[in-house]
């Protein structure tokens, strides 16, 4: 099983929603919002902007950066926990709008860890399917109301990553995925109203499961956390990312973060972060992806630069 990461892409809506705009709505201050989340602002989509719209924009950005056309794709995987209807999920619309009329397109409606699961599945399928585009798009602003525990956290956006068997910038070495449904009610959206989150349970579980999955995948590859060049995590909350760095005993600077500017964009966040990180012309060395979210689903992927 040989698979490579050949590029990333992203799309963020234009509208910037600063903490000050939300503070009065949720009965808190801008400073409180930043202190509990690290978030200063987030992007919200326009009413007419959909998960599929944003997914197509991120997909096109990724394909452009990778220098290939959509017609070369062997598979499309679309992750979203905030699609506008039960079925078909956004994968069919994204595929159609990319001009694909027979390429398999799969939905992963598992929210925050969806892009991680998508990359891991693509890693396993690339040898038989060819180029696989993993897209994660979320319109989280449609899933929140005025609960200060959730309304301050979430933003909208989309990310994409191209996985293929052709040699590329990063070779995917290994992946670990886990699910524990015992806490499935701790973070859920029932289709109407706002999402529900037991923050204490989510943080307590995430603070342990993210580092443990990273440690697990690195141990299997005989790589220490200190050898990793960059950690590209689901951007749930800056305080959580900082805590993961502490648990792994690595410098916080190794954790690429943009949650300060985009908030928690659920499954899109890890690929948006990867896209921005890749633009910084990062040096060689192993990189780690990790995410945790509703379900609970969590895991980690390790890749290494080929240059």
């Amino acid at each position: 099983m040989t698979a490579y990461l050949n590029g990333f892409g992203a799309y963020l809506p234009e509208r910037v929603v600063a903490n000050a705009e939300l503070a009065e709505r949720v009965g808190k201050t801008s400073e409180w919002i930043e202190s509990v989340s690290g978030i200063q602002e987030r992007r919200w989509a326009r009413p007419e902007e959909t998960v599929a719209n944003m997914g197509v924009a991120a997909a096109e950005d990724c394909l452009r950066r990778a220098g290939i056309g959509a017609n070369t794709l062997g598979m499309l995987i679309v992750s979203s926990g905030s699609g506008s209807r039960g079925f078909p999920g956004p994968a069919a619309e994204v595929a159609a709008r990319l001009g694909l009329d027979s390429t398999p397109a799969i939905d992963l409606p598992i929210a925050s860890a969806g892009s991680l699961f998508g990359l891991a599945l693509a890693m396993g399928l690339a040898e038989t399917q060819g180029d696989i585009l993993v897209v994660a798009a979320e319109k989280m602003s449609a899933l929140i109301e005025n609960d200060p525990n959730t309304a301050i956290l979430f933003g909208d956006g989309a990310g994409a990553g191209l996985v293929s068997a052709r040699p590329g910038r990063w070779r995917m070495l290994d992946a670990v995925l886990h699910t524990d449904g015992q806490s499935r009610e701790a973070l859920a959206f029932d289709g109407t109203g706002s999402l529900k989150m037991n923050g204490l349970t989510v943080i307590l579980q995430a603070a342990r499961k993210i580092p443990s999955s990273i440690t697990e995948v690195l141990a299997r590859q005989n790589i220490s956390a200190q050898q990793v060049t960059a950690f590209l995590l689901h951007q749930a909350n800056l305080n959580l990312v900082t805590r993961v760095a502490k648990s792994l005993e690595v410098a916080p600077e190794k954790m690429f973060t943009n949650v300060q500017r985009y908030g928690n964009t659920s499954s899109a966040s890890m690929l948006i972060a990867a896209s921005e990180w890749a633009e910084t012309n990062p040096g060689p060395g192993p990189i780690v992806f990790s995410a945790f979210g509703a379900g609970f689903h969590w895991g980690a992927i390790v890749a290494d630069s080929t240059a």
């Binding site: 037991n198 943080i203 307590l204 579980q205 342990r208 959580l240």
Partner: protein, 82 residues
């Protein structure tokens, strides 16, 4: 069974993590009172594991088990004796 020595050690851990005195009432919720926030909880569990040489399995990572000095004491009484 409550253990006054264990309660005192738990009280000290809570105080170290919160940076404020633990409540006098062992039944008082540490989270509803605002003494601890969600990000202090993982630290508290780690500190308990270290202080009492126990491993709290992921299946026991339920905030209710660590919501008060009394509940932590009860959890430890159950697990240390096993």
């Amino acid at each position: 069974m409550p253990d006054s020595s264990r309660s005192q050690r738990l009280r000290k851990l809570v105080q170290e993590i919160a940076g404020k005195p633990a409540p006098e009432d062992d039944q008082e919720s540490l989270f509803e009172s605002g003494l601890l926030d969600s990000f202090a909880l993982p630290d508290l569990v780690s500190a308990i594991e270290k202080e009492f040489s126990v491993k709290v399995p992921d299946s026991d990572l339920n905030p209710r088990k660590f919501d008060s000095i009394a509940r932590m004491d009860a959890y430890l009484a159950d697990h240390i004796s096993k």
